[in-house]
Amino acid sequence: MRKLFLALSLVIATAANAQESPLAFVGAKIIPIVGDPIDNGAIVVQNGKILAVGPVDSTTIPADAKRVDAKDKVIMPGIVDTHSHIGGGWGADGSSPIQPDVRVMDSINARDPGFTRARAGGLTTLNVMPGSGHLLGGQTIYLKLRNGNTIDDIAIRDDQGNILGGMKMANGTNSQRDPPFPGTRSKSAALIREKFVKAQEYRRKIEQAKGDATKLPDRDLELEGILEVLDGKRIVHHHTHRADDILTVIRLSKEFHFRVVLHHASEAWKIADEIAKSGVPCSIILVDSPGGKLEAKDLLMQTGAVLEKAGVLTAFHTDDWITDSRLFLRSPALAVRAGMSREKALYAMTMAGAKMIDLDKRIGSLEPGKDADFIVLSGDPLSVYTKVLETWVEGAKVFDRSDPKDHLYAVGGYGAGKDQVMHLCCEEGAEGR
């Protein structure tokens, strides 16, 4: 019965995304991220996927395609945010510093207006995380900003239907407080090592049982979570600022062989070569000024440029609400101001982030076969005057600046702080609100 229900849900989901005929945007400047920008380009999408991308002259546009004139527009992949807190979700509570059993998906309000604002900013994929007040704050969730009212509507699943996400960890001062929380950096690392060793022992016992149910250890939700990390199924998204804290994360990741992304990494510029050598990627944040907390006192606008030069895979994130998703394109622009190349700065908004959440086969660039997640811009993505005109997720338009309802969320105004109910089933304008 449950299988039937799942099958039905999938059918409905597919139907919602299906285009009756292909859709072709013609004449835009297309920034595919993988490959050079195309001045007079076309992109064709159907059934939620990209069919073709290329110069207008050499791209086959099916005869039955609905053509959209996109002259003077810029089209690029939907933006990937590797670190967001939209939806008001909290992960772990105050009972202990390590809570790998806790899932942020169980506390996210999918109707939060923040999601609509993110769509207005051109974001299509988010990694929504628990906070950084714990050494291990729980499981993160990867979301597609589809038109959806529930967490299930916007979750990203693998081929088996499993909901995807990473694991949030943190070191430095945020996760230090009174016991049972750690009081020092060494204690922080020791607590993590202790828990990871426990998970290794748990795995050994499972392996020793060789499938014999009577010999299996009791299920342990916490250790199961860590095992997913140790097995590489869950990437660790690690809040870390100071250079020494960054090096501690790298040290632990080498000891336990877990996959990790360094988040914020305010002082990454001080140890860029060491980070490059470790092969660990960085997701950084750019804010208007340094400080606000001791660990961010040496935050620089130049970090993106320094990491690029060192050869570190670099993405940006909003950490929404630390920065506003609607203005996320400021980040690559300010990084370019401070010396990063335009190419890498835009790569950092898309492909780099996709890689950091293991979804680069599906999203992050405009290539045939990938999800039809793209944004239509009024001009250069790095210009302050440019507007996100439309945001498309899996072939469906989820934001249209010309629609007054969407415009309200894009710029703010009376009522923009209220939860939003998305319309899934009905014709445009038929929803009753």
């Binding site: 208007d288 000024s289 606000g292 907390k293 001791l294 101001r337 710029v411 703010g412 923009a416």
Partner: protein, 411 residues
């Protein structure tokens, strides 16, 4: 020392001072946004070291031989951040560098900003490198009356070097920001909007009484000096405006009501919902220093803010300035230049947006005789850019304050 020696020394000293002050500068700009008329294409500005002596097209302004000359694509007046806490709220955000708010008493108008200003604070240099040369800074929103504000230039080793107006306004807050929260909330005031307004009214009435008693003919019958009441009397006399931070429409209305009842000058600050009260604000002839354009929207009293508020108010003819505001966490300050940039992208023209951080800000702050535009006789405060100042990818390539180059590295 003989009198001759004394004279000689004095002459030398005078000469040295004069020549330091007279280090002339020439600034060439492909576009000079004077904010006192249309932009000048291919223009030149001359300074005598402190003030602007000439402004005009290159053809009409001769650069004297040997004068240091800077060039830029775009030259603007030094930018003004119309409301900030930089200098009082330090970037480390630790107890020892947070002097923008003392919550021991809900109303403390006697607190002077000059006594908390750290001229060495890193964020002063940070915003200066983006072209900000004047800051209206001081006590933060968050108490019914948190204290005084002042105006400084973003230069100098001491408050005395920096300050141009030691007392500018008195900062007040209405709405959720003024109310006491937390576990003792029920025992402390103000706990409601009505209580907050009642307390403000009582304080203003007390100051009226103080003023009356202080003016009696018999000096022996005058009350003892009271720093708090003295400050409030300056508000009653119209010497100091009350800078009222009010986000929701209900709180803006309370601010207007207070201004009318006591016939005091007020400046609205924040004004997240000010677009709902265009007629009322316009009729009251009250300027608005709008919340930073990029302020986080809600949840809370800023949930209805709009990036288009500046445009809406400017179109209605209401005097508007932009600000960096107050940040309690990361980032520790915003940069007014970027706030104006977002306003320029959300309904303001380039000139209007630039005015919100130059001449219009200067007028609201009462310092337009000195700063805010590039005109002969005004302070030689300039910001140089290698492109449209509002574009994120443009650099601020030079900053000049009081005729001195304070930054030449591109930022």
């Amino acid at each position: 020392m003989t009198s001759l020696q004394r004279i000689l020394l004095t002459t030398v000293a005078l000469f040295a001072a004069a020549s330091a002050a007279n280090a002339q500068l020439a600034i060439k700009g492909e576009t000079i946004c004077t904010m006192a008329g249309p932009p000048i294409k291919d223009g030149v500005i001359l300074t005598d070291g402190a003030k602007i002596t000439q402004v005009g097209p290159a053809a009409s302004v001769a650069i004297p031989a040997g004068v240091k000359t800077l060039s830029a694509k775009v030259v603007t007046p030094g930018l003004i951040d119309a409301h900030s806490v930089v200098g009082l709220s330090g970037y480390l955000n630790q107890d020892q560098d947070q002097d923008q708010l003392d919550k021991s008493d809900p109303m403390q108008p006697e607190l002077r900003a000059i006594d908390s200003y750290n001229a060495q604070e890193r964020l002063i240099e940070w915003v200066r490198d983006f072209g900000i040369t004047t800051l209206h800074t001081g006590h933060a929103p968050g108490a019914l009356i948190s204290g005084q504000t002042m105006i400084v230039k973003t230069t100098g080793n001491t408050i005395d070097d920096a300050v141009i107006k030691p007392v500018a306004m008195v900062a007040a807050t209405l709405g959720e920001g003024a109310e006491v929260h937390g576990k003792d909330a029920e025992k402390k005031s103000p706990g409601t909007r009505s209580k907050a307004v009642a307390m403000l009214r009582a304080q203003l009435i007390k100051a009226q009484e103080y003023q009356r008693k202080q003016s009696v003919a018999d000096e022996s019958k005058r009350p003892d000096r009271d720093l708090r009441q003295e400050t409030m009397v300056r508000i009653l006399k119209g010497e100091l405006p009350l800078l009222i931070t009010a986000q929701r429409a209900i709180d803006i209305m309370s601010a207007l009501r207070l201004a009318k009842e006591f016939d005091i000058k007020i400046v609205l600050d924040g004004g997240a919902e000010s677009y709902l009260l265009i007629d009322q604000i316009k009729a009251a002839k009250i300027p608005v220093i709008i919340h930073p354009t990029m302020t986080r929207s809600g949840p809370g009293e800023t949930e209805n803010l709009s990036m288009e508020t500046a445009a809406t108010l400017v179109k209605a003819g209401i005097p508007v300035a932009l600000q960096s505001g107050f940040e309690s966490y990361v980032p520790k300050t915003r940069v007014a230049l970027f706030e104006a940039a977002v306003a320029a992208s959300n309904g303001l023209t380039f000139d209007q947006a630039l005015a919100t951080i130059t001449i219009d800000a200067a007028k609201i702050l009462g310092i337009a005789d000195r700063v805010g535009s590039l005109e002969v006789g005004k302070d030689a405060d300039l910001a140089l850019f290698d492109g449209d100042p509002f574009e994120y990818t443009t650099h601020c390539t030079g900053v000049i304050i009081n005729g001195k180059i304070v930054s030449e590295k591109p930022h």
